[in-house]
C-alpha cells in the first residue's frame, strides 16, 4: 500500500480490498467487551483540522484510540493558525512532536499533498476542499459491500449500480467515490443539475445524467449529497424548493427504486432539501450504519499504514500462511 492516503485514485483494487477485508475483521472489535487492540501502542496520530468537522474527526479519533494510539487533536480555531501560522510551520511543529500519522482536513485542495512532503509520518486526507475524501469513499464502499455483497471477503463491487445525486461540483465525496467505486468494478452514474457538474466531468470513469427519476429505477444504491450552502457563492439553481422538487429524494421517488436498493448520505443532512426526513429515517437508509462503519474503515487504514515497519502490501500471490510472519 501507498504510504499516504491522499486520493482514492491512488488505491489499486488489491489495496482497496485489503482495506475493506481488514475493516471487516476490525468491525467485530465493536461487539467485544473490550473494544480495544494494543496494536498502535506508542504511536501518535495527530488530527489536524483546518475546517469544521464533527463526525470525521470523532471517527478518526475513535479509530486511533481503539488501536491504542495516542491522539492529539489540533483544530485551527484557537490555535496559532488563527494567528497567521502557515501550513508548513504547522507541519514542522507536528514533525517535532513526532507524529506517526497526520490526519488532515483543509479547505484548500492539495493541502494534504503538500503536507506529505514536509512530514515523515503518513498523511491521511480527511477532506481537502472540493478535491477528495478517500476514507469516506472507503466507508461507503464498505457499507455497500456489507449490505448488498452477501459473503464478502475478497470481493469487489463488480456490476453494482450506484447513483450519486446532487452537488457534484463541490463534492469531494463524489470524486473519491467515483474513483474508488470504479476501481472496485461498480457502475457509477452521477445525477445533478447541469450547473452542479464540474467542467472536466467527461474524463471521470462514470456516466452522467440530469434526470433523477430515470436513473432511480435501475440502481442498487442511491447516494444523496448535501447541498453545500457554505461553498455556493453563485446561483446554481433558482431555489432550494425547486432543487428539492427535481433532485430531492422523497417517499414518492423511493417507490421508483428496486426493492433491494439502499439509500446513503455522507452527512450532515439537510432534511427536506436533498433528502426527506421519512427517507433518511427509513429501513433502507444506511446513514447511521455509515457512521459506525467509518470507525472500522479508519481503523483499517491506520493499522495498514502504521501497524508495521512499513505500509502493508496486498498479498495476491502469497499463500495465506504468509500472513503469519516469521518469529512469533
Amino acid at each position: 500500500m501507498i504510504r499516504h492516503l491522499i486520493s482514492a485514485g491512488d488505491l489499486t483494487r488489491d489495496d482497496a480490498l485489503l482495506i475493506l477485508d481488514t475493516a471487516d475483521e476490525l468491525a467485530r472489535v465493536a461487539d467485544r467487551p473490550i473494544k480495544k487492540l494494543p496494536t498502535l501502542r506508542g504511536r501518535t496520530v495527530v488530527n489536524l483540522f483546518f475546517e469544521d468537522s464533527t463526525r470525521t474527526r470523532i471517527s478518526f479519533e475513535a479509530a486511533a484510540k481503539r488501536l491504542s494510539a495516542d491522539v492529539i487533536n489540533f483544530s485551527a480555531k484557537g490555535s496559532s493558525v488563527a494567528k497567521g501560522e502557515s501550513l508548513k510551520d504547522t507541519a514542522m511543529t507536528l514533525e517535532a512532536m513526532g507524529a506517526d500519522a497526520v490526519v488532515v482536513r483543509h479547505s484548500a485542495a492539495g493541502a494534504p499533498h503538500r503536507l506529505a512532503n514536509w512530514v515523515r509520518g503518513s498523511v491521511v486526507n480527511a477532506g481537502d476542499g472540493a478535491h477528495e475524501h478517500p476514507t469516506q469513499a472507503l466507508l461507503d464502499a464498505f457499507t455497500m459491500r456489507r449490505r448488498l455483497g452477501g459473503t464478502v471477503t475478497g470481493q469487489g463491487l463488480d456490476g453494482l449500480r450506484v447513483t450519486i445525486v446532487g452537488d457534484i461540483l463541490h463534492s469531494r465525496v463524489a470524486r473519491s467515490n467515483v474513483l474508488l467505486l470504479s476501481t472496485l468494478g461498480a457502475e457509477v452514474t452521477l445525477v445533478a443539475p447541469p450547473t452542479l457538474f464540474p467542467v472536466e466531468i467527461g474524463g471521470w470513469p462514470c456516466a452522467t445524467g440530469y434526470d433523477l427519476d430515470a436513473a432511480l429505477s435501475k440502481t442498487d444504491v442511491v447516494m444523496m449529497l448535501r447541498v453545500q450552502r457554505e461553498r455556493m457563492n453563485a446561483a446554481y439553481f433558482p431555489s432550494e424548493r425547486e432543487y428539492s422538487r427535481r433532485y430531492g429524494l422523497d417517499a414518492a421517488r423511493m417507490a421508483l427504486l428496486p426493492e433491494h436498493a439502499i439509500v446513503m448520505h455522507p452527512g450532515p443532512m439537510n432534511r427536506g432539501v436533498e433528502i426527506a426526513a421519512e427517507v433518511a429515517d427509513g429501513a433502507r437508509s444506511t446513514i447511521v450504519e455509515q457512521v459506525a462503519n467509518g470507525v472500522s474503515v479508519r481503523m483499517a487504514v491506520l493499522y495498514l499504514l502504521l501497524g508495521g515497519l512499513e505500509p502493508a502490501q496486498p498479498a495476491t500471490t502469497a499463500p495465506p500462511a504468509a500472513t503469519r510472519g516469521v518469529s512469533a
Binding site: M1, L18, D21, T22, E25, L26, R28, R32, P33, I34, K36, L37, P38, T39, Y303, L304, L305, L306, G307, G308, L309, E310, P311, A312, Q313, P314, A315, T317, A318, P319, P320, A321, A322, T323, R324, G325, V326, S327, A328
Partner: protein
C-alpha cells in the same frame, strides 16, 4: 506415504509424519483432552490461524465421536497482538470466530500446528484476555520443536521433534494444503529467519511460518 513431491518448494524436505501419523496424534490428543477435562465439559477449542484452525476442527470432531456430544471450536487471530509487528510491513488479519457462548468461565484449549519460540502463544494469551476470562487455558500443538524464548509449554503434544534452529518445520494439512504431512528441511536462506527480516517470497513464506510457532 505419498511424497509431497511435485512442488519445487518442498524439494529437500524430508517427511517426519505422514497422514496416518497425524491422524493418530490428533486422536490421542483428543483422548487426552477428554481424560484431563472429565469428558470435555465446558471445553472450547480455539485454533490459531492458519493451520491451527483445521486442527481444532479435527480435534472437535474426534472428541464428538468418542463422547457423543459436540464441542465448540473456533479461531482466534493473533496478528494485532504480535510482538514483531514493527519488524515487517503491516500484514493482513486472520479471522477470529468465537463460539456464540463466548469463552467466559470455559476451559479454552488453544490449538496450533508448531510450537517454537512461544511468541505466538503469548500473543494468543493476550488476545484471549481481551475476549473474556476463561476458567483455564490449555495448549495443544501438533509438533513441539523446542527452542522456546518464553516460559511457555504445551499441555498436549502430537510429536516432540528435536530440531536445530537452522531447520524449518512445515506442517501441511489437507484443508489448507491439499494433503497431510509434517516435513523437516534446511533453511535455504542464511540466518536472519528469527529476527523478522527473512525473505518473504511466496514459497518461503509457509516455511518461515513453520519456523516459528
Amino acid at each position: 506415504m505419498s511424497m509431497p513431491a511435485g512442488s519445487p518448494a518442498l524439494a529437500g524436505y524430508k517427511p517426519v509424519l505422514d497422514a496416518a501419523d497425524i491422524g493418530r496424534a490428533v486422536t490421542r490428543i483428543a483422548h487426552e483432552i477428554l481424560e484431563r477435562t472429565r469428558g470435555a465439559e465446558d471445553v472450547i477449542l480455539l485454533g490459531i490461524p492458519t493451520r491451527g484452525v483445521p486442527l481444532a476442527g479435527r480435534l472437535a470432531r474426534c472428541i464428538e465421536q468418542v463422547e457423543g456430544r459436540p464441542v465448540p471450536a473456533g479461531s482466534v487471530d493473533i496478528t494485532m497482538y504480535r510482538d514483531d509487528l514493527r519488524m515487517r510491513p503491516a500484514r493482513a488479519l486472520g479471522h477470529t470466530d468465537l463460539p456464540a457462548a463466548g469463552i467466559e468461565g470455559k476451559t479454552v484449549v488453544l490449538v496450533d500446528d508448531v510450537l517454537y519460540s512461544g511468541r505466538t502463544v503469548r500473543a494468543a494469551l493476550d488476545a484471549l484476555n481481551d475476549l473474556g476470562r476463561p476458567r483455564a487455558v490449555r495448549l495443544a500443538v501438533l509438533v513441539d520443536r523446542g527452542h522456546r524464548e518464553l516460559p511457555i509449554r504445551a499441555d498436549y503434544v502430537g510429536k516432540n521433534l528435536p530440531t536445530s534452529q537452522r531447520e524449518v518445520v512445515r506442517v501441511l494439512l489437507a484443508e489448507v494444503d491439499g494433503q497431510d504431512a509434517v516435513l523437516l528441511g534446511e533453511a535455504r536462506d542464511q540466518a536472519g529467519r528469527r529476527d523478522g527480516t527473512a525473505a518473504r517470497g511466496s514459497h518461503e513464506a509457509p516455511a518461515t511460518k513453520g519456523a516459528q510457532g
